[in-house]
Amino acid sequence: MDPYREQVQDVFRDVFDDPSLMLKDEMTADDIIGWDSLAHINLIIAIERRLRVRFATAEISRLKENGANIASLLDLVTRKRKSSG
């Protein structure tokens, strides 16, 4: 279980204004209605605030590429949290 899954899920629920949203590893932007570029950067900003991490431009971009999913996001968040101590 990812240690930050619940917090990231809360962020998703806030950003997409959908309290019933449940994150699954294989979910991608195509699975969530409205997950476009603006929603993506809103998610990133909200996760940065909530978990006190900072994403680089290339990382934000990679999370929007084909093949990126919730598992890649959680993995990156975990690595960021570890490196920030």
Partner: protein
């Protein structure tokens, strides 16, 4: 030299055959680098252009090294302002040229593909400063920037992606099927560029000529003929542009695969997009993604971090800034600015409509709406016509386009 010409294709096929049998990484990189150099040699017109290119590339690599060691946002911004200023001078933007006393000297300098180099340079520097480039190498960087397959008109490949392949440069077409698929794509690209695209360009030019010569009153044009030629300028230029540019991309993507490099795709059935936001993820994708990542995201993040309560409405300002830059990047003339602003309007309307639907129908209702086949067809047709209409302003000046539209209007109304 155009990629659909024999002077490009014949050497490419020879190099591809030689590349396949070269024994090691250094030989393969060496051959690739020689081809890059030879291609540049054929395209740069004089010594001052070479000097400007060397300065452009050296400054980029030097700045990346500096910022990698001492990350500093102020230094980055200062360099970016100078870099974009130099680009505006090289591309001879009217506003800049009016301020320059040495404009005659600048006119002698011409760097082919400088618009694409600029975006690659910015990406390389920003990512290096943010620790996203694993190791810096001047050899890799130079070959990345002057890669003959992306030099003229993209696709805008990211440095990390290029480096990953360059470091292990080897044939990637593993079997006969892959080789045949690459040849087929090359052939399709050549057919698109040389046989299909010119037909539609000819039809567009014919319609444009008729509308322009009919006179501003449209006195000599029957309404039916005016409508016919309106559809001519509306549909044929977008068709030409798609066939020409996607054909070009087919050739360079297939060509690069012959020598071990996988380039990103630039098109994904753009005229089947559901809205303009979708369109910019399918049309000239690598430009759209670059604008999104290195312009829209940082700008919106800066605004949303400082003024979170106003972020929702200021996002629209960011759309317009991003597409204004995309428009200006295409060229210094006012019609490109207008083209960019059209895209800003299209993206904003798509976003506002989505918000309206979300508010009125909720998330489930929005899903149902998006899944409706009728809505899908209507969205695709609407987006296609918006994209075609905005492209009316792409090939010629604003006044010329308005003159053509006025002729149609006068004849019909």
């Amino acid at each position: 030299m155009s990629p659909d010409s024999l002077s490009f294709l014949v050497p490419l096929l020879v190099v591809a055959a030689v590349f396949f049998y070269l024994p090691g990484l250094r030989w393969r990189q060496g051959l690739f680098a020689v081809c890059n150099g030879a291609f540049l040699y054929l395209l740069l017109p004089n010594r001052s252009s070479w000097a400007a290119l060397v300065l452009f590339l050296a400054s980029g690599y030097g700045m990346a090294r500096l910022l990698n060691r001492w990350p500093n946002r102020m230094l980055l911004w200062t360099y970016l302002v100078i870099l974009v200023g130099a680009f505006a001078v090289l591309r001879q933007y009217d506003l800049v040229m009016a301020l320059l006393p040495t404009s005659v000297l600048v006119r002698a300098v011409s760097i082919v593909g400088v618009s694409y180099m600029l975006f690659r340079q910015i990406q390389f520097i920003v990512d290096t400063m943010q620790g996203q480039v694993e190791h810096l190498s001047v050899w890799n960087y130079l070959n990345y920037q002057v890669n003959l397959f992306t030099l003229l008109a993209g696709p805008i490949q990211r440095y990390q992606e290029f480096q990953q392949q360059w470091d292990v440069l080897a044939p990637v077409l593993k079997d006969g099927h892959a080789v045949r698929a690459a040849y087929l794509r090359l052939l399709i690209g050549v057919i698109k560029m040389t046989a299909l695209a010119p037909v539609f360009l000819g039809l567009y030019k014919n319609s444009a000529r008729v509308l322009l010569t009919a006179g501003s009153g449209g006195a000599g044009l029957q309404p039916g003929l005016a409508v016919e030629h309106f559809f001519g300028i509306l549909y044929f230029f977008p068709l030409y542009l798609y066939l020409n540019f996607s054909g070009y991309c087919d050739i360079v993507i297939a060509g690069a695969r012959f020598v071990g490099v996988r380039l990103p795709e630039n098109f994904d059935r753009p005229y089947l997009s559901r809205n303009i936001i979708d369109y910019w993820t399918r049309w000239h994708r690598t430009l759209g993604f670059w604008i999104r990542d290195y312009l829209f995201f940082p700008l919106y993040r800066a605004i949303a971090t400082r003024r979170p309560e106003q972020a929702e409405s200021l996002a629209f300002l960011c759309y317009f800034v991003a597409f204004f830059v995309a428009g200006v990047w295409h060229g210094p003339e006012a019609n490109f600015v207008l083209y960019g602003l059209f895209q800003g309007v299209g993206v904003s309307v798509a976003k506002l409509w989505e918000r309206h639907l979300l508010k009125r129908r909720g998330r489930g209702g929005l899903r149902e709406y998006l899944e409706s086949p009728r809505v899908r067809v209507a969205s695709i047709l609407g987006t296609l016509h918006f994209a075609c209409f905005s492209l009316l302003f792409f090939p010629v000046g604003i006044n010329t386009t308005l003159q053509m539209l006025r002729t149609v209007w006068d004849a019909v109304v």
